[in-house]
Amino acid sequence: MAEQATEYNSRELLACVASKMLEDRRSVFVGTGLPMVASMLAQKTHAPGLLIVFEAGGIGPEMRVLPISVGDSRTFHRAVAASSMHDSMSVSQAGYLDYGFLGAAQIDVYGNINTTVIGDWQRPTVRFPGSGGANDVGSFCHRTILIMGQDKRRFVEQVDFITTPGYLDGPGARERAGLPAGSGPHRVITQLGVYGFDEETKKMKLVALHPGVSVEDVRENSSFHIEIPGEVDVTEPPTEEELRLLREEIDPTGMSIGK
């Protein structure tokens, strides 16, 4: 097994963990920031056959540097197609995109996420950017992966606003609402660990803890009950090679993984 690094920051860990979730020969709908880093890392390691699609129209690029925006020219550098949002969104609605990444300000036990407002919608305490492509990713991609910070204010009983659908109010709810069958949240990655959703109940459950994190940390940082299975994996820390790729090749300026 590859040599493991001892020195790495939380975002580097998240990028590596997210990257490993992307199977080779699959497609991913990529948003700004860590998702880009994770997808580029996957292509450079275990998933050279990963197809990257950007909402603004960049399809299958060979990115030379990390884009700042999902619409800048880096997203269609040596792309197989420089197309449009209508094209990207249509092929994802039609079922061509397997993975999608999302961030969130709040999430509930069913994986419903809020990136719109804290407080009342009309007169919000905090106004966030809104859906952007998040609702589209969460509606269309076969499997969505969330990357977010975890604490009691973020892992909440009820989100202030359902911007993007998780499993709504439970099993079958997505299909009843008319959302594409079989789609929905696949994993949630936080600074503490990795979560999945129970097949039966569609409720969030712990899948793995990051090195040095305890089940108590997980409980203390969620306002809702997270199912803890008998056996809990520990995530693999970044290898030296992964860190080298992240720091030297993918994000040398540290715009996403920090410095």
Partner: protein, 338 residues
């Protein structure tokens, strides 16, 4: 096809298809005529208080900033803005007090650069009202319906969420599958503005790289204003008709404005001016800072060329070109604030 749900959001920019056809018949000339004019004239003639406006490009890419600054200079008010991944554009316009309503797909954020102090302040204080929510694909398809001249298009996003509840969309049962589907109403902006790399005097505009939502937006909008890096001969357009994204009969004004997208990116030509965007983000933390910014870069300059000199002139523009072309590494204040 019973209606299962109706969004509570305000329906902005929708017209009865027949009403819009009549408007197009009476207001859009079909012949090749010289539409060159100054940015001042384009804005004074075609952008009015209360208009529903949209900018081409995406976030910080290909935004027609010269037109945007002129809108501020001419003190347009109560504009309704299409928050179609509106980032730097909407933030500055809101800061300048031009916008009173927004339909939001994405706004009040600068992607990696963080949230928008000015935009958020206005919304959280109620000065600027969010009248409806929607998603990026949803907005894109509002323009698709407008381009097609039909009242709505069908989609499978937004279902089951508050985004839909606060949108202007409706949910019905698809008569074929029997499943609920979302109906997204058409959007016909009063004015859509674009910055392109090349355009002829008639308005035949070509775009290099991804089109984002511009193809549909230009066809859905009632008025289309185009600023261009350079005005080219009509023969240049006709030599490569496949590259024409916006044909002349859609266009009302053509303004030649080199670097007209600064500080946003113009693919292949120049990169984001992160220093300038950073200055805006820093100053816009306070109302005073916003005033300072606008006084310096909008009200304090005679024209766009004076603005370009002020932001760094030829040296800065050459740097942005080298960065865009991978010949120099990007410098960004927000990269050092870690």
């Amino acid at each position: 096809m019973e209606i299962l749900l109706e969004g509570e959001g305000e329906l902005v920019g929708w017209h009865d298809p027949d009403e819009n056809r009549k408007w197009i018949l009476e207001n859009k000339p079909r012949d090749l005529r010289d539409k060159q004019m100054s940015v001042e004239d384009a804005v004074s003639q075609f952008v009015h208080d209360g208009d529903f406006i949209a900018f081409g490009g995406f976030g910080h890419i290909r935004v027609p900033m010269a037109l945007l600054y002129e809108i501020i200079r001419q003190k347009r008010r109560n504009l309704i803005m299409a928050g179609k991944t509106a980032v730097h554009d909407i933030d500055v316009l809101i800061g300048a007090g031009c916008v009173s309503k927004v339909e939001v797909a994405y706004a009040f954020g600068h992607e990696l650069r963080g949230l928008s102090p000015a935009g958020r302040r206005a919304v959280e204080s109620g000065e600027c009202e969010v009248v409806a929510e929607i998603s990026n694909a949803g907005y894109q398809w509002r323009f698709l319906a407008g381009m097609m001249g039909v009242p709505f298009v069908v989609s499978r996003n937004m279902l089951g969420t508050d985004t839909l509840k606060k949108s202007a969309c409706k949910v019905v049962k698809d008569p074929w599958s029997g499943k609920p589907v979302c109906l997204i109403p058409a959007a016909y902006p009063d004015v859509a503005m674009f910055h392109v790399p090349r355009c002829d005097v008639y308005g035949n505009a070509q775009i290099d790289g991804i089109l984002v939502e511009d193809f549909e937006l230009a066809r859905a909008a009632r008025r289309v204003l185009v600023t261009t890096e350079e005005i080219v001969d009509n023969d240049v357009i006709r030599a490569k008709p496949q590259n024409t994204v916006i044909p002349f009969f859609l266009v009302d004004a053509v303004c030649e404005v080199p670097y007209g997208a600064h500080p946003t990116e113009m693919p292949y030509l120049y990169f984001f001016d992160e220093e300038h965007i950073g200055e805006w983000l820093r100053l816009s933390r306070t109302r005073e800072g916003v005033e300072e910014y606008l006084d310096r870069y909008v009200h304090g300059v005679e024209d766009f060329e004076e603005y370009l000199a002020l932001v760094g002139g030829v040296a800065k523009l050459n740097t942005l070109k080298r960065v865009e072309q991978y010949r120099e590494r990007v410098q960004a204040p927000w990269l050092d604030e870690d």
